[in-house]
């Protein structure tokens, strides 16, 4: 069975989704979903281990060899992403049963888990595949289920947010499809590895330029790169809390993965960074994203909105690392992918616990929560410190490598701006701390208790991971380094 791990990675959650319909009780469905996601996590850790030991794994679907059939191609980069997605999904699911009991009507629980599993399977499928069209198919699965999940939010505004996301997401997906279509037209193949061999022959044609531009714009819509981020804050703020925790840690990461995969593996480094003024454009947009979104975050009254804007800013950091286009820069991006997934899932899960207890995430409702929900608020503080990039947290590790990468390239103004961006993070995290710890509880709210254990266990698992990987960076750094080196090795 070990040889079939790549496909099992996707098939387990995918097949589990329709099976959920045959189970009736909400608790049973939750357990089943948790087991499926846990299995996916197990498989992804086995895969990562295999890849680190023996190199790229190729799996031919249907037994047809590559450019004719579809293949799964797992290298260090995929395996790393698969691990992040399935790990976050499993940990977040631990709290799902308690959280959605309050936020979603009981007759929709089964559908919620089905959509959750489909979304998970879709993201895993995007990451695992080595075929450009297969990417689009699984992108559709993950986005369709994402729209429905977001619209399930309790607030009526969730529908509008989901609709906005639907329009933007569909435009993004269509752009990607147009790009893939043109690539197929110029090369006659859809396989990524094959594309990377055949594209250089036709690299001078305008059609290939157009294909590249369309794919990049489509992916940037999906990853909410400033100024294409407008769908993200509302979608994150009004979705059910569990969904926010899951998507904030995974959805945009998958889009970043696609960006890296298409620029580095498919089009190749020399094409991607010489054809268009991409490097300059991405540095500027990344930095603008960091500042605009951080400043917007400072003025938010809804804490979910606040962290959603902070997510846009964090994507800015990833893009800056990406645009340095050196091994260290890419490594910083990959590290930040991993680290940001840890921070944001911890933060949004903690917010889910707050919603569970007080039913709101308005900043004005946070008065005195520091004493009433000490463990939850402590988790938010540590997550916030990690967001700022304080030493001993994961945030420091990725900022450190990012600074290193920009300095290596002699971009010291960029380094300075990155550090300045971190200062802005201090401001918005401090606003929460101030309200939660230095204001007395609201009258009539004295009886608010700490969140139940089903929240605290996953939250603190993530918080401890935030600290652990901040101190012992061997795993994350080693994998990120191997992945970025292999990407540069393939296309020097």
């Amino acid at each position: 069975m070990l040889a079939h791990l790549p496909i099992l990675q996707v098939i387990v959650p995918l097949m589990a989704a329709p099976l959920c319909l045959f189970l009736t009780r909400s608790r049973l469905v939750w357990l089943f979903t948790l087991i499926a996601s846990g299995l996916a996590f197990l498989i992804s850790s086995l895969l990562l281990q295999q890849v680190m030991v023996s190199g790229t794994i190729i799996y031919e679907l249907g037994g047809w060899d590559a450019p004719w059939g579809i293949e799964y191609r797992i290298d260090q980069l995929n395996a790393f992403l698969l691990l992040i997605i399935s790990a976050v999904s499993t940990i977040v699911l631990l709290a799902a049963h308690t959280s959605i009991k309050q936020e979603i009507p009981a007759d929709r629980h089964t559908l919620f888990y089905i959509l959750y599993l489909l979304s998970l399977a879709g993201m895993l499928g995007i990451v695992a595949t080595g075929d450009a069209f297969n990417v689009f198919v699984f992108l559709e699965i993950s986005s369709l289920s994402a729209y429905a999940l977001i619209a399930l939010g309790k607030d009526r505004r969730a529908l509008w947010a989901s609709y906005q996301y639907l329009i933007m997401g569909t435009i993004g997906a269509t752009f990607i499809l147009i790009g893939i279509g043109m690539m197929y037209q110029m090369t006659g193949t859809l396989n990524m590895d094959d594309l990377s061999k055949r594209l250089p022959e036709v690299a001078h044609t305008r059609t290939v330029f157009t294909a590249f531009a369309f794919v990049i714009v489509g992916v940037c819509l999906k990853l909410a790169l400033f100024p294409l981020h407008l769908w993200l804050p509302n979608a994150y703020a009004y979705a059910p809390s569990i969904v926010t925790a899951f998507f904030a840690a995974t959805a945009t990461k998958v889009a970043v993965y696609l960006l890296i995969r298409f620029t580095f593996s498919v089009f190749g480094l020399s094409f991607s960074f010489t054809a268009l003024p991409l490097q300059m454009l991405f540095v500027v947009l990344g930095l603008l994203g960091i500042f605009a979104a951080s400043i917007a975050a400072i003025y938010q009254k809804n804490v979910k909105h606040l962290f959603a804007y902070s997510s846009v800013a964090q994507i800015g950091y990833m893009i800056v690392g990406f645009s340095v286009s050196t091994t260290t820069g890419l490594m910083a991006t990959l590290l930040h992918l991993f680290n940001h997934a840890l921070m944001k899932s911890a933060l949004f899960l903690a917010l889910a616990a707050v919603v569970y207890r007080i039913g709101s995430v308005q900043l004005s409702q946070f008065h005195g929560l520091g004493r009433q929900m000490p463990f939850t608020m402590a988790a938010i503080v540590i997550g916030g410190l990690s967001l700022i990039g304080v030493p001993l947290t994961v945030g420091f590790v990725s900022k450190w490598y990012l600074a290193l990468a920009t300095l290596e390239n002699g971009w010291w103004p960029v380094t300075a701006l990155i550090l300045l961006g971190s200062l802005l993070a201090i401001v918005y995290v401090w606003r929460i701390v101030e309200v939660a710890y230095f204001k007395p509880p609201i009258a009539g709210r004295e009886s608010i208790k700490e969140a139940p254990l089903s929240f605290l266990i996953p939250i603190w698992t993530l918080v401890i991971a935030n600290i652990y990987f901040g101190i012992d960076t061997r795993l994350s750094v080693q994998v990120a380094q191997a992945a970025s080196q292999s990407l540069f090795g393939v296309s020097p």
Binding site: L14, M15, P18, G63, L111, L115, E140, Q185, V202
Partner: protein
């Protein structure tokens, strides 16, 4: 254009025209899908949607000039950028040189299905098709999650009486439909099982099958249709379709072959391919038909509830 009804009809015509366009480009399978989905079922679903929202668009004051400019710029860039692409139908074009020759020359020996499109869709790139089926399943589940109305038993009688007055007027339509429906169902089955030899297959068959049921529901009322087709039953059917497709893959896994490798299904690899394609097309048909019916029922069910509410208000 402010009249949404006209907009929908035009989009249906657009679907039909592009279908004939595809026929003239010799892409019969695509044309068939476009005709049944683009011109057929999606027009129908949009019609149901406007019965809920009203027929005219709300006047909006802002002029979307900026959006128009973006669309024009993107469109002209797209045209400019693709000026140097290979000529349509040119034998030298890369798409005809690289992957396609094997499909054309060897698929008969390797898969044994005369329709090359089917052998590519259902065997060479079967995993993409599996993904598409899951996309449709996802859409069905999404509609259910957002729209499934909680029906109170008290309302049912009211809807019944409402339906009677509404549908008794269409006597001719009802009789003609009653005569047509068996043939539509039969045609759907023909399309389903003929996919190996000519254009057709699970997607189109599922849509046609669903269209027959929807036609019945439109003319005889939702409740009569509900008596035939139970809501939770049809949900299970949608799931069974996906599971059938997936389990074909799992069987090849259990036999030590790669996922969706049909050659293991029978002693003779070609017969295995045949059996595999038959089974997965059946799975596709199940899921597509049930999801279309689910979507229609939930749209229409909501409409009935809405009208009930209005009736109650006016009383």
């Amino acid at each position: 254009m402010k009249d949404l009804f006209a907009v929908i009809m035009l989009s249906g015509i657009y679907g039909l025209l592009s279908a004939s366009f595809f026929v003239s480009m010799d892409a019969v399978d695509v044309a068939f899908t476009e005709a049944s989905v683009g011109a057929g079922i999606s027009t129908l679903l949009m019609l149901v949607a406007i019965t809920m929202t009203g027929r005219t668009e709300n006047p909006s004051r802002h002029k979307p000039l900026l959006a128009l400019a973006v669309v024009i710029v993107t469109g002209s860039l797209l045209i400019y950028g693709t000026l140097d692409m290979p000529y349509f139908g040119s034998a030298q074009a890369p798409i005809h040189q690289h992957v396609a020759p094997r499909y054309i020359n060897d698929s008969m020996q390797e898969v044994g299905v005369p329709n090359i499109v089917t052998s590519v869709l259902a065997s060479y790139r079967a995993f993409d098709t599996f993904g598409e089926v899951v996309v449709i399943f996802t859409a069905g589940m999404g509609v259910l999650a957002l729209l499934s109305a909680v029906r109170r038993p008290r309302d049912v009688a009211e809807i019944d009486s409402f339906n009677k007055s509404m549908y008794e007027e269409h006597l001719i339509l009802r009789i003609v439909a009653k005569m047509l429906i068996p043939f539509i169902l039969l045609f759907a089955l023909y399309v389903q099982f003929h996919g190996d030899y000519g254009p057709g297959g699970g997607f189109q068959a599922g849509v046609i099958f669903a269209a027959a049921i929807i036609l019945y529901a439109m003319l005889f009322g939702m409740n009569t249709a509900r008596r035939v087709i139970n809501q939770s039953f049809i949900q299970l059917f949608a799931a069974i379709g996906v599971l059938l497709y997936g389990s074909v893959g799992v069987i090849s896994l259990l036999n030590g072959k790669n996922f969706l490798d049909y050659s293991i299904l029978s002693a003779d690899p070609i017969a295995g391919q045949h059996l595999g394609i038959l089974l997965i097309e059946l799975g596709v048909g199940f899921t597509v038909a049930s999801v279309m019916v689910i979507i229609f029922f939930n749209f229409a069910g909501r409409r009935n509830n809405q009208q009930n509410k209005e009736n109650n208000d006016s009383c």
